[in-house]
């Protein structure tokens, strides 16, 4: 077998090892990723989807911006996948009681859900510090490798070594791990290879910024159309109402601007 010429290797060093990529390229995940269900997002994620065996951090201003609708297509695929078996989705310390019907409508099999509360954090009380029990349980779930997907709502204040432990444990977990934290955590360092900031961008739309990924920085934010809550008719009506409200607002402001202009004109006249 001919060894590859050294010049060719130097020209394309990213072919040497899957962990290598160039700064202008997207990293290639060694493992297959789970498709997120949003083509626009998949195109921007290394590996073409949510990474397996690694942490993914989602930072949001408050629960309820559309994070579950963003994750639902991937979770539905994991909970219903045939090969080798449908797998469970574990949720750690969700911020509020879940509505099973809503998840069923999103296509996630409610029978595959397991919700774990920290010992003192039952029913969604938000804590400043993660309980040691919860971190332990999270680590156990990741290490066992038997869970399909893990979602954990972690508090803002979290020791860096706790996150690093989770990242290490995630390597034996054959599925995506989503850590959902407050947007304030953006300034804190994190070992997660993928970090996204989410915020709402209107009716059934989500704006998403990639804070960190294996690849070049993405300056623009993505706008994703979420699984809709409103029917198209209702949505059109709401848009029309919004436009009308804006128009009246502008109409309320414009005469004021006009009078100001007139006033300045009068002043000028008075000066003359």
């Amino acid at each position: 077998m001919d060894p590859l010429p050294a010049a060719a290797l130097l020209a394309a060093p990213e072919t040497l090892h899957p962990a290598l990529w160039r700064a202008h390229q997207l990293g290639r995940a060694r493992e297959a990723a789970v498709r997120s269900g949003f083509d626009e997002l998949d195109a921007q994620l290394p590996g073409g989807g949510w990474p397996l065996q690694a942490l993914t951090e989602l930072l949001l201003p408050h629960p309820g911006v559309g994070e579950m609708r963003l994750l639902a297509p991937a979770l539905a695929g994991i909970a219903a996948a045939e090969p080798p078996a449908p797998r469970s989705v574990m949720l750690f310390d969700p911020p509020a009681p879940l509505c099973g019907w809503a998840l069923a409508q999103l296509g996630v099999d409610a029978q595959r859900l397991i919700v774990v509360h920290g010992r003192d954090g039952a029913h969604g009380a938000r804590h400043l510090l993660a309980s040691a029990d919860l971190l332990w349980a999270l680590e156990q779930a990741l290490k066992s490798g038997q869970v399909g997907a893990v979602l954990a709502w972690l508090p803002l204040r979290l020791r860096a070594d706790a996150l690093r432990r989770l990242q290490l444990a995630a390597q034996s977990h054959d599925g995506p791990v989503f850590l959902l934290r407050d947007i304030e955590a953006r300034a804190r360092p994190s070992p997660a290879p993928l970090r996204l900031a989410l915020h709402s961008a209107g009716i059934d739309e989500l704006a998403l910024r990639v804070l960190k990924r294996r690849g070049p920085a993405l300056t623009r934010s993505l706008r994703l159309a979420l699984p809709p809550v409103l029917a198209p008719v209702q949505r059109a009506r709401a848009e029309a109402a919004r436009l009308a409200a804006e128009a009246t607002e502008r109409a309320r402001l414009v005469p004021a601007a006009g009078s100001a202009a007139r006033l300045s004109l009068a002043e000028r006249c008075g000066l003359q």
Partner: protein, 506 residues
């Protein structure tokens, strides 16, 4: 027939020291029988203490010596556990009647082929006995008593006390000392005085004279060992209910100390279950406490810790893990003196097949174990699973039950088809009353824009939590969608419209 004899020379001392953990090799220990020392460990032996000494003599030699009382019941329990472990290899396991030199006998001719020959079987036997923490001598011979004699006769063990052939056994036994036989030990001095040291010496004497002087028993034993007369043995059967207790070496103040004792009991429990080809479905660990002072009635005498497994298991490691998590959570009212473990929940089904490649059932198994561990530490109510209920009221639409992955398969209701989303993912635990401005609801001080609705939900007049509400989907100022409702009938606040926030479309 081929018998393996397993002689446990230090059974009484080991059963006493088993709860000590690693300390048992560091402390000088001695067992007292009456006022005399019956057994000592290696550390005590190095200090010059020997069996047969009086207590005061031993203390003069080694003041740091720790004493324990020999306990026949404890020894019997330990011996039974060894026999249970041996039952994994053959159905014919018997205890030798000689209490001074305890011995377990296994008839293994029928099992040799399955376990891959005698050396492999002996290796497996040693591995199976390791968790019980006993040291033993193995020997095999065509007769049960012959094997037992070879095992007790420790000289020659290195030469290979494994005799396959009856004539070789007889030859070997001719050199064995007379005290190996139970009746021979009784008449040891008399026999020695007559110059009879080995079994060969005995055999050369006229039988009638021997029988007259030392009784029939001596000759019968000799004949049985040599295979001249049959030696029927009764196979040991495990009792239907497991009960074992252990006295802790020191009173235990922490759960970590308790675990040392509990691990011994668990090893015995698993040996008992394996002997019956069954798996443990649950057990109860009872801790006997020491009263804080005399006449203390506040401290309960016992604490019971029942442990029920979601799926029966025979894995000592798994049981230990569960017990460790449970003990770590259990508040103990007082120091513990003794532990008792009983179990009558056995699953006598065939064990599930092991699998080479990951499959649906092995994944289910792994998940079950994970859930069990989480529940053992956090409590069963903290690991939950949703059950969809056909109720229009959103707060009653999802019930939560302790997670049990295998139960979920049974409960499986008709799957709900993916549909347009009409319910929010996050429900507030309590509907949040909203402020109003000109009859319009405000969230965080900004007006909500109602986008869709009303959806009227009126239900529950029959069970006391009547809900009569008009639900709207509204948009908050940052664009996120929320679910609000207007209370209809029993107006709580007569002033306002009665707007509440009930959910967020996550």
């Amino acid at each position: 027939m081929l018998w393996i004899a397993l002689h446990l020379p230090a059974l009484s001392l080991e059963s006493f020291a088993a709860t000590l953990g690693a300390l048992r090799h560091a402390l000088p220990l001695a067992l007292l029988q009456g006022q005399r020392i019956a057994a000592v460990n290696r550390v005590a032996l190095q200090l010059g203490v020997k069996p047969g000494f009086k207590r005061a003599t031993a203390l003069a030699l080694a003041p740091q010596l720790r004493f324990g009382q020999a306990d026949a019941a404890r020894e019997a329990q330990a011996l039974r556990a060894v026999a249970h472990a041996a039952l994994a290899f053959t159905p014919m396991v018997a205890l030798d009647g000689d209490a001074a030199l305890p011995c377990v006998l296994l008839e293994v001719r029928g099992s040799l082929r399955y376990f891959g020959g005698l050396p492999s079987l002996q290796q497996r036997l040693r591995t199976a006995l390791a968790p019980l923490g006993h040291s033993g001598c193995l020997a095999s011979a065509p007769t049960a008593l012959g094997a037992a004699l070879l095992a007790r006769w420790r000289s020659g063990f290195e030469l290979g006390a494994h005799v396959d052939d009856l004539s070789a056994l007889r030859q070997r036994l001719d050199d064995a000392p007379v005290w190996l036989l139970g009746p021979g030990r009784e008449h040891r001095d008399a026999l020695q005085g007559m110059g009879l040291r080995t079994l060969g010496d005995l055999r050369r004497l006229p039988r009638s004279g021997l029988a007259r002087r030392f009784g029939e028993a001596l000759l019968t034993e000799l004949d049985r060992a040599r295979g001249d007369v049959p030696d029927p043995r009764e196979a040991l059967r495990p009792e239907p209910r497991f009960q074992a207790r252990v006295e802790l070496f020191e009173r235990a103040d922490s759960s970590e100390q308790l675990l040392h004792g509990a691990m011994l009991l668990l090893a015995q429990l698993v040996a008992w279950a394996q002997a019956q080809h069954a798996r443990v479905g649950g057990f109860t660990l009872a801790m006997r406490h020491e009263p804080r002072h005399r006449g203390d009635t506040d401290t309960p005498e016992h604490t019971e810790l029942p442990l029920v497994l979601a799926e029966a298991s025979n894995d000592v490691q798994h049981l230990q893990l569960l017990l460790r998590e449970r003990l770590a959570r259990l508040p103990l009212p007082a120091p513990t003196l003794a532990l008792r473990l009983h179990c009558d929940q056995l699953q006598r089904r065939a064990a599930p097949n092991g699998e080479l490649f990951p499959s649906a059932s092995s994944a289910q198994q792994g998940l079950l174990r994970l859930v069990e561990r989480l529940q053992a530490r956090l409590g069963p109510g903290q690991v939950q699973q949703p059950v969809l209920c056909a109720d229009h009221r959103p707060e009653h639409g999802t019930a939560w039950q302790p997670a049990l992955p295998q139960a979920a398969v049974r409960l499986r209701s008709t799957p709900v088809a993916a549909a347009p989303l009409t319910r929010p993912v996050w429900l507030l635990p309590q509907p949040l009353a909203l402020h109003e401005q000109q009859s319009r609801p405000l969230l965080d001080g900004r007006p909500l824009q109602l986008l869709a609705g009303p959806e009227r939900i009126e239900a529950g007049w029959w069970d006391g939590s009547h809900a009569a509400r008009d639900y709207f989907i509204a948009q908050a100022h940052d664009g996120a969608l929320v679910w609000v409702y207007r209370q209809r009938l029993p107006r709580v606040e007569p002033a306002g419209e009665g707007w509440y926030l009930h959910g967020r479309f996550g």
